[in-house]
Amino acid sequence: MAFLEHLLHPEYLDLLYFCTIGVLFSCLISFLPALHIYNVIGIFLLVILKFEATMAPMQLVSLCIGMIVGYSILNTVPATYFGPGDESLSYYILPSADWLAKGRGYESIILTGVGALGGIIALAVMAPLFLLFLPGLKTITSPHMFWIIGAVISYAVLSEWPKGISQSDSCWANFLEGWKFLGVGLITFLLSGLLGFIVMAKTMVPVDFAFQSITPVFVGLFAIPWLITNIINIGAIPKQHESPSMELDWDLVVRGTFGGFLGGFFAAYVPIVTAGVGGLMAGHATAQRDGRLFVMSYGTCKTVYYVGSFLLFFIPGLSLTRGGLAWIVTPVVSVLTMKEYAMFVALMLFSAGISFLLLMPFTKLCIKMVEKIPYHWVSVIALILVIPGVYSFTGWGGMAIMAVATGIGLLPVMFQARRMNLMGVLLLPVCLNMAGYGNDVLRFLGLI
């Protein structure tokens, strides 16, 4: 009881204020085309940290909780209507584009939102249990993390199946047709991995913005190819139906949340693995096929990934720093106790509530925008904003990296291979570095 009184003390009301500000700010962040949340928060904190004397550490953490929870729930909206910002979103965006083309974008977003809310509730329910089993899990898996990432890579590569219609009389022609897609996938993965090694070993980004060194890579790999595709391929999107109700039952909610939670937790726990990769693996592990189930499960997965990785950082005594946001707040948060952990969970639930309430008006606003503005112009404007944006933070070096990454990012788009292969940019170098082979590769490439 004393603990509850302590938590509900008016002195903590300011945290709710900062949380709300964070959620509102996440609406704006979600609109920024093609930028990953961690990069935006990084830039934001550069400004905020100048005022760190006036902000208590927990206030900053509340702001971050609001931003990450809000972003994880609300980013689906602009991603659906204007294009995905990162790999975690691009996994979702292809099925979502299908719904959008049928005028069901609103329905898809609300389903994702329900999934996201389910994910937050599941995280809150699991929060006390994390205290019990995560220390053991960490003890078991810590020496093995490199091969777990290696297994993720192996599965991602092996689980891509050939495409094509195989109608030639020649077996070899059919074989080459099928392998064209697989080959492009493999080449994409290897080239992305090579780019990752180069960027991590010898970044061309100015030292002042070294924390943004991965931004031009992500913009080039994921955002620009998507924007270019939109400009070339898509005309006006069909009229969007704002359905007053939705076909949904508890069975679907439970199954979607369960599958998504598994994928999101795996992605949050294992370094470098994103919600896209985690979602794919969990989807296969739980044999999901229903389209609604996929969309909802994706909502859970990305929310659990984004918020869960931040939550892991606050588990007392665990020292599990996963995800960019945890690294960003590390300098300001020195002591972590049960009080901070409980507050995190409470603020996470509060932010999720506000974000979910914002989801419907936010979606309707976006629908109005895409109905008024021609769709491909949105992509043109986004492209015009992104390129100078990258230049302003990373200079000509960043532009060069972005140009190379764009070339690689266009490969899966043009040859209908999996975009997930682009995650080789992080998976391959980090896996080999963790295994201790990173320097050998760098030496082989002449980078050291």
Binding site: I140, Y155, L158, W161, Q167, C171, G178
Partner: protein, 364 residues
């Protein structure tokens, strides 16, 4: 089973070798991934290689500008007639691509009660198999056809095959001693690639290679199995676990190819596409991996365990989830059976099979 199920089961099998766990934690070896890779390998061989080199006796390429269901049905019937005369006949059905995202669909079924091949030309569909309104064939004579053959059918899946997008299916017809003609779906799948013999052969070749190339490694006195033998054993057991898992379904495998000619039927305990059976195998593998990584940790006397009480661990993390899965599995089965009874429809001839709705090739 899903590809992921086979993959993680392969890793779980590899984790039962203490030396492999030690190699992973102490020498940064990826040896445990080898189990996963060979766990998914049989399907990789089938869907990335074998399918392209299978030649059918008959190939049906329907002309989208001159659609006629009878032509297709006659083509399939010819393959059945060949099987009646010669013992076996195969037919490959091709899809009709009209534009990058537009296909003409058709269905093929085998009506066991009347011994007829049934073909229906369907609407045009997009790659997501969503039909375009008003694209159905207007002429009913050309849109539907039934061609009778002089034999009885024996088939595992009494449902229509939807042929619409990407690569069409292949069927083999085999005359059985009873006189019935068995309809074999995808005859190139689950044959040599899903046999113990291939697993043994690969393991043998790898074993010869590792015998000459892999050194004993540190602390050989700790292990009963020499290090060179570890690789072929992980490969063998990884591919065997795939075959065993597939045998729990309906399609089965050709276990001793080339000594046996045909696929045996599976045990039929569960469908490969079902969520709970797949998750059961995945969860069992995860639990086995965690338990093995913990019990085979290096220097156990100096390192605290991650699992302090194995009984608690298995009770809370395995038996409780197992009980929940069993509850939902049997509840689902009961509800399905009740639904079937209430509709009084013994065979759903018109619906797609769950396999046909599947996007992950490895569950077939």
């Amino acid at each position: 089973m899903k590809g992921f199920t086979h993959f993680i089961s392969g890793i779980a099998v590899a984790s039962f070798f203490p030396q492999a766990v030690h190699m992973a934690s102490q020498e940064q070896s990826f040896i445990l991934c080898l189990g996963g890779i060979f766990g998914i390998m049989p399907d990789t061989l089938d869907f990335k290689f074998a399918r392209y080199f299978h030649k059918s006796d008959f190939e049906i390429r329907p002309d989208p500008d001159n659609l006629d269901a009878r032509v297709i049905a006659e083509g399939v019937a010819n393959a059945i007639r060949k099987a009646i005369a010669e013992g076996r006949g195969t037919v490959q059905l091709h899809t009709m691509q009209l534009a990058s995202n537009r296909w003409r669909s058709y269905t093929l079924g085998f009506d066991s009660t009347t011994s007829e091949v049934v073909v229906e030309i369907g609407p045009e569909v997009d790659t997501g198999q969503i039909p375009f309104e008003g694209t159905e064939l207007k002429d009913p004579v050309r849109a539907n056809a039934r061609v009778k053959v002089d034999c009885e059918f024996f088939q595992q899946f009494d449902k229509k095959s939807q042929i619409a997008i990407m690569t069409g299916p292949c069927f083999e017809f085999v005359k059985r001693p009873t006189g019935k003609v068995e309809i074999v779906f995808l005859p190139w799948h689950r044959t040599w690639s899903h046999s113990f013999t291939l697993g043994l052969l690969i393991a043998l070749l790898v074993g010869i290679f590792t015998y000459f190339t892999v050194p004993a490694g540190p602390h050989p006195e700790l292990y009963t199995i020499p290090r060179w033998l570890l690789y072929p054993l992980i490969i063998l057991f990884g591919s065997m676990v795939h075959i065993i898992e597939d045998s729990t379904g309906f399609m089965g495998n050709n276990l001793f190819y080339p000594f046996t000619k045909d696929r045996t039927n599976g045990m039929g305990l569960m469908s490969a596409a079902e969520a709970i059976p797949n998750f059961l195998f995945v969860w069992s593998s995860v639990i086995a991996i965690l338990y093995n990584l913990d019990r085979f940790r290096w220097a156990p006397q100096d390192t605290p365990p991650g699992i302090e009480n194995p009984w608690n661990f298995f009770f809370w993390f395995y038996f409780v989830p197992l009980a929940i899965m069993a509850y939902y599995f049997f509840k689902g089965k009961r509800e399905k059976a009740e639904k079937k009874e209430s509709k009084n429809r013994p065979v759903d001839f018109d619906g797609q099979t769950s396999v046909e709705r599947e996007t992950d090739a490895s569950i077939i």
